[in-house]
């Protein structure tokens, strides 16, 4: 897995490429922890190249959910493929995470 980070207009975008499994979730955790410490509470997650997400990968986002909410921040996922969306849906996570189609939608969501 590879994570690319872009930071502009006060928004941090993380583009995840490959499989987010137990092994790579450690890196994901570090990235999000760094964002939190760096007070970047609005995070866009580009899932276009995310092939697979395991429960450990989901655990990373779940574990920071409350912390970011407390700072009035949030995660917004976009361009998620069906398979990955299926995993989110199965767990009921589509109810608590923002999952949108495009990056523009995601940005609009965060700006409002």
């Amino acid at each position: 897995m590879e994570i690319r980070q872009y930071f502009n207009e006060g928004l941090l975008t993380l583009a995840i490429e490959g499989d987010l499994d137990a092994a790579s979730s450690i890196e994901m955790d570090n990235v999000i922890k760094a964002a939190y410490v760096g007070q970047k509470y609005h995070i866009l997650i580009n899932c276009k190249l995310l092939n697979y997400i395991s429960s450990a990968g989901l655990g990373v986002f779940i574990s920071y959910l409350e912390d970011f909410k407390a700072q009035r921040g949030s995660f917004v996922f976009f361009e998620m493929n069906e398979e990955v969306y299926g995993v989110f849906e199965l767990l009921g996570l589509h109810n608590i995470f923002n999952i949108v189609k495009t990056e523009t939608e995601a940005k609009n969501l965060l700006n409002t």
Partner: protein, 683 residues
């Protein structure tokens, strides 16, 4: 013993030589053809005996150092020269001696002359044979054969054509040529030794030339007319080859050494660098990371001849000034602040070093404030690009760190990096072993907590299988008869693997067994379970679960799904297989009262022959062994139930298990797989 036999050859050779000399003194014998033939035969035998002796002697000689060999040769050479010049000096000084004495003196000097060249010739074999191979040994042996043949030219009274000696000279030259350039010992000379050897060779070359001069002059000049027919050296191919070989070797060694001298310093520098690397790596690889870092700092400090310095060692992302040399902490802080040390370490493109050649000019330090004028910052990154520490070196003058010094430090750092990598690998190996142990424990826990067999029940049959994977997870299922008409069934999966997952599974069993006594509605069961679990589960873990409450009296079941894979249901009345679609969030994802909003309870009517299949994600996500790498998936599972729904629970379970194993061909070793089949047989 060998030595003594060998000495006999010398004695024999010497004896034969002097016997022939006596023959010359006893003039009559020398004047007859027959006498000359016999005398020359004696000489030939003597030559071969000497050759044999010296060849053996050099083989067993214990001197291997070029310097020692040349010292011996030089000493011998000076003595030989002193003796060989005697007859010449006598001739020059017009000192008349009797014929007998003249012959004796001349013979003696000639004998020493012979010994010197044979000794030198054979002892050089040792030099030629440094780093020898079979070719060189063969070349030497064939040269010896040519020499023995050459000695035959001394035979008198047998008419040789002139071509024979010439042919021998050519053959000898061909044999000698590759041997002359065997001068590998030059490359092994150390430091001043080279100059000493060069001097030795110069002196040897002089003596060598003088001796050749004597040889030529004495033969052609003074003595030839005086009835000593032919001296043993005249048209003597044997001696010609020996003297030629020795002279050529002297000349070649001298010239090659001379031209090698300017290059040698470079080669020696490289040698010493290699040696220091070896020493460093030896020290580095023995100790822990911290000690290695300490050592690395000391080496860099010493080699750059720095005046002051400090290093920072990073543990768990926090840097700590560990060691300082001739610098106060206050100064370090001031300097770090001014050069923007923190920012420097965060730059994305990781550079090997940062050099500040003139601190004063850039206003990093001021006169009378600190003595430091140049600074070298060396960040040390590990193999996976995390910062391990920083070494800072200071000098009291500007431009203190040139490219060479920086490169040297960088190569030391590379060595240290290897050491860090090694420690990391060792740690990983230990962790792997620990992980394996953990997995074993988890497997045992899982086996103990999951029911392996089910009793015969009145209303339904239950069958289940549980396949543990290499990375055992937290799959769990259980059932409980609440009263005669009600039964609770649960299937769940704790996220994560290993002992921790198994531990949470045990907790889940406890919660399930406790809550089941309360006869809660399905959705309330999940809310309560979520509440209990939230308090004891790490933040990044969650549990997926399905809770089913069967009421055989009312012929229905209610269920609630908490993020778990949907129930596969065969409706016997409508003969239809479907997944029960609904909403439901995993346990431990939302850890407050709002969880209630995310769970639903559904009621389904039961009929005789209905089949309910519960399973964990390991089943639908199991990958095929083919190149497509596709998952087993929901559709295959559905088709399975469609095909076998008329069979017993145990048979359906076996069919699913077989299909799954056939599909994955035993490759499914990353996740556990659990399947529970319930078939209603009587209502």
């Amino acid at each position: 013993m060998q030595n003594r036999t060998n000495k006999l050859y010398l004695l024999l050779g010497s004896l034969l030589y002097w016997l022939s000399s006596l023959g010359f003194i006893w003039g009559e014998l020398a004047s007859s053809d027959m006498g000359q033939f016999l005398l020359s035969l004696l000489i030939i035998c003597s030559l071969i005996a000497h050759l044999w002796f010296f060849n053996q002697h050099s083989k067993h000689d214990q001197t291997f150092e070029a310097e020692q060999i040349f010292t011996k040769v030089l000493t011998f050479g000076i003595i030989t020269f002193a003796i060989a010049i005697v007859p010449f000096v006598l001739g020059k000084m017009d000192i008349l001696l009797t014929y007998k004495w003249e012959v004796i003196i001349r013979r003696f000097s000639a004998y020493i002359y012979l010994l010197f060249f044979l000794y030198t010739f054979t002892i050089y074999r040792k030099l030629m044979h440094i780093r020898k191979d079979t070719t060189i040994i063969r070349q030497w042996d064939s040269l010896l054969v040519v020499l023995v043949l050459a000695s035959l030219c001394n035979l008198k009274g047998v008419p040789f054509s002139n071509t024979f000696p010439i042919l021998l000279y050519i053959m000898g030259a061909i044999m000698l040529l590759p041997l002359i350039f065997r001068v590998k010992w030059i490359a092994l000379l150390k430091g001043k030794e080279k100059w000493l050897i060069l001097l030795f060779l110069l002196v040897l070359l002089t003596i060598n030339t003088a001796l050749i001069g004597l040889y030529v002059y004495s033969d052609l000049g003074v003595y030839t007319d005086q009835g000593i027919n032919q001296s043993m050296f005249l048209s003597n191919v044997f001696m010609g080859l020996v003297i030629g070989g020795v002279s050529a070797y002297h000349l070649a060694s001298f010239l090659i050494l001379l031209f090698y001298l300017p290059l040698s310093s470079v080669i020696e520098e490289q040698k010493s660098e290699i040696k220091s690397y070896q020493e460093i790596s030896k020290v580095l690889h023995k100790e822990g990371d911290r000690e290695t870092f300490d050592h690395l700092f000391k080496v860099c400090f010493a080699t750059t001849l720095s005046n002051s310095g400090w290093y920072i060692y990073i543990v768990d992302g926090k840097g700590e000034i560990v060691h300082t040399n001739n610098i106060k902490d206050v100064d370090i802080q001031l300097l770090s602040q001014r050069i923007g040390f923190e920012q420097l370490m965060q730059i994305e493109a990781k550079r090997g070093y940062y050099s500040f050649p003139d601190l004063k000019k850039r206003r990093y330090v001021f006169t009378n404030e600190m003595p430091y004028r140049s600074l070298l910052v060396l960040p040390i990154f590990t193999q996976n690009n995390s910062l391990k520490g920083v070494i800072c070196l200071l000098k009291d003058f500007v431009y203190g760190f040139d490219a060479d010094l920086i490169n040297l430090c960088k190569s030391y750092i590379d060595q240290a990096k290897l050491a860090f990598e090694n420690t990391r690998l060792i740690k990983q190996t230990i962790e792997d072993a620990r992980y394996k142990e953990e997995i074993e424990i988890a497997t045992k826990v899982q086996e103990a907590l999951i029911p392996s067999s089910f009793p015969k029940l009145e209303y339904c049959e239950i069958a289940a299988f549980n396949q543990s994977a290499r990375d055992v997870g937290g799959d769990y299922y259980d059932y409980s008869m609440i009263d005669d008409y009600s039964m609770a069934v649960v299937i769940g999966d704790v996220s994560g693997k290993g002992a921790a997952a198994a531990f949470h599974m045990a907790q889940m069993k406890g919660i399930f067994q406790a809550l089941i006594q309360l006869c809660l509605p399905a959705d309330n069961f999940l809310v309560m379970a979520n509440h209990s679990i939230s308090n004891c589960l790490e933040k990044n873990r969650f549990i997926t679960l399905i809770y089913l409450a069967f009421d055989f009296g009312f012929r229905n079941f209610t269920y609630s799904r908490a993020g778990h894979c949907p129930i596969l249901y065969y409706n016997a009345e409508q003969d239809e297989v479907s997944y029960l679609q609904d909403e439901g969030m995993g346990l431990g994802i939302i850890r407050n009262n709002s969880y209630t909003n995310f769970v639903e309870a559904h009621q389904v009517d039961l009929h005789v022959g209905d089949v309910i299949v519960l399973y964990t994600d390991g089943l639908v996500e199991g990958r095929s062994n083919s190149e497509k790498n596709e998952p087993f998936g929901y559709e295959r599972l559905k088709n399975c139930l469609r095909a076998y729904n008329q069979q017993s629970a145990a048979e359906i379970k076996t069919k699913i298990q077989d299909k799954f194993n056939l599909f994955t061909k035993g490759r499914n070793d990353t996740d556990d797989t659990a399947v529970l089949v319930i078939k209603i047989k009587h209502l």
